[in-house]
Symmetry: C2
Subunit: 331 residues, 2 copies
């Protein structure tokens, strides 16, 4: 490849590392911003990210690693943001380089807590990026399985589908297949809402509900997701495509999902605060629940699962009572 | 309840036992046919089915147990068949009592191997039962969770929805919720097709595909199921309702599913024959695969997953090659 695209990944976590691994199969050089100088040095010396997805072998010769976000932004055209949503706003405050004419792909799952916006809208509203230059990379995809080179299907969404197609050439490979979509709003909301349903699945499990109920919960969840997204952004979409239903299932059925784990603790009787302390982190679905509930207050879609999770996490309602009520709203 | 419906269950397995348990919460007396005199005596003496769902406590005083199918058929109005599909035809050969004016509900998941028909159609064609008197009881429901009294949602389908509603009063209870549908064809085909997708999930797992692929497989599976059923019987249905998607998920994600187990052995390199011998039984999805494939030869729905499973089970194709081809037909 003589004229390769100039692509950089921003973020140092598992998902960022997985995306770097995918790109490194196709690109000679990749920009990579991460905060931790220690992690950068470790990668250069040991060819592994020290803290996240350590099993993935990295090739430092291909990597232009930097702890300076502005250096990376200046020198690359396509910027893939994979910073956990809770830190996006703070991280972006460092930004002085212009984002003009940059193509921004968000691989961030969730909502920016400070603005209550999905990441694409956050970039659009706060940084004046036109929607034609904003894209989304979405699963179903556990980063851990990318490290193991297990076949995974990603969806790349952009209003300007040519940009998604261009990027897909550098993402696709032996163990990654890609699908193109023009539904950036829908795929991003799906990626955010699925975390709420994963919390719900965890709560149900913690309360002693079984696999029969879990199947009913997921079946109601995807119908609820469809109603929710339709109110936010009406367009023709097949909610059973991998980017929506597949993404819901890979999270809702994963015992490793942090959102499901968080819900499970709540179901077992932990308070919201003590579950957070115990996990020493905040599950992304926690913020998503508040945002989704508030957005839907205006839109009025029927969302019994989101309502129940909201009442438990923010309304000081007992999970047991709230889920008993929920069982009568499902079918 | 002074005038209770006269309801009998036919079959002695786990699912029959679970349905008897549900009914015994609401009915003073239930007819129950099973082949094994030994099992009948055991239930009378020990209040448990000796071989299936033994953890469920039964109440012999409520049960009119008989090893004579004709006695049961003569004396009850609503007959719930829960005989494994592989034995339905042989069992029904014993039948001399008339089925005229009887209401037949099928709780049988699968296809009658000898006729290649779903059970409702088998009764309709071979016994002249009008479709108005034929119903279907479907999950998502592991019998084991009924024994544990874990909340489960069943769908009762009948063209004459009043009959489904009547029966639902005797099925619903503390841990069973019911939904009424008029789609007997669609719900039965869903219950049959899900076993093929469970075999596919097992094969994929056996071959080393991971959770990311499983989510993509299920997402493609439900879309394929929708296309298949639409060709067989076109009507307005929401394929994401619990009777379709929920049923697919509870089986496709269950590590206890015999169909998934069977597929897993094939994926790990067993021949079809040796997998069957090892399991000392034939997984229902094995017959379903042949029927579904043949039905679809005429209908022409796009069914890459059924095709791949068929080629492995009946076409002597290597699972590894066939699934590699399949991965290119999914998205």
């Amino acid at each position: 490849m003589s004229k390769q695209a100039k692509i950089a990944v921003l973020g140092g976590g598992s998902w960022a590392t997985a995306i770097v691994k995918m790109l490194s199969e196709n690109l000679d050089t990749i920009g990579w911003y991460m905060r931790s100088i220690y992690a950068i040095e470790h990668i250069k010396r040991n060819k592994h990210n020290p803290s996240y997805l350590s099993s993935a072998e990295l090739h430092p010769k291909q990597l232009n690693l930097s702890e300076d976000m502005n250096y990376i932004v200046k020198n690359y055209d396509i910027l893939i943001f994979a910073i956990p949503s809770a830190f996006v706003n703070t991280e972006l405050e460092k930004l002085t380089a212009s984002l003009k004419n940059k193509i921004i792909f968000s691989a961030i799952k969730g909502i920016v807590p400070e603005t209550g916006l999905i990441v694409g809208e956050h970039f659009h509203q706060k940084y004046n990026i036109p929607f034609n230059n904003i894209g989304v990379i979405t699963g179903p995809c556990h980063a851990e399985e990318v490290a193991m080179e297990r076949l995974s299907y990603l969806t790349l969404a952009c209003q300007d589908q040519e940009k998604a197609t261009d990027l897909s050439k550098y993402i696709s490979g032996r163990y990654i297949k890609t699908k193109i979509s023009d539904d950036i709003i829908g795929t991003e909301y799906a990626a955010m809402l699925k975390n709420i349903y994963a919390i719900a699945a965890g709560i149900a499990h913690g309360l002693g509900y079984g696999d029969n109920f879990q199947a009913v919960l997921m079946s109601n969840g995807i119908r609820e997701m469809k109603r929710f997204i339709k109110k936010v952004h009406k367009m023709k979409r097949n909610i059973n495509n991998s980017a929506y239903l597949g993404d819901l299932l890979v999270t809702g059925y994963s015992v490793f999902s942090r959102n499901r784990m968080f819900g499970n603790m709540i179901g077992k009787g932990y308070t919201v605060k003590s579950a957070m302390l115990e996990m020493s982190m905040v599950a992304e679905g926690y913020y998503a629940t508040k945002s989704a509930f508030e957005i839907n207050q205006k839109n009025g879609a029927k969302t019994p699962i989101i309502d129940a999770v909201y009442n438990v996490l923010y309304g000081k309602k007992e999970a047991k009572d709230e889920f008993l009520k929920l069982t009568n709203r499902l079918d």
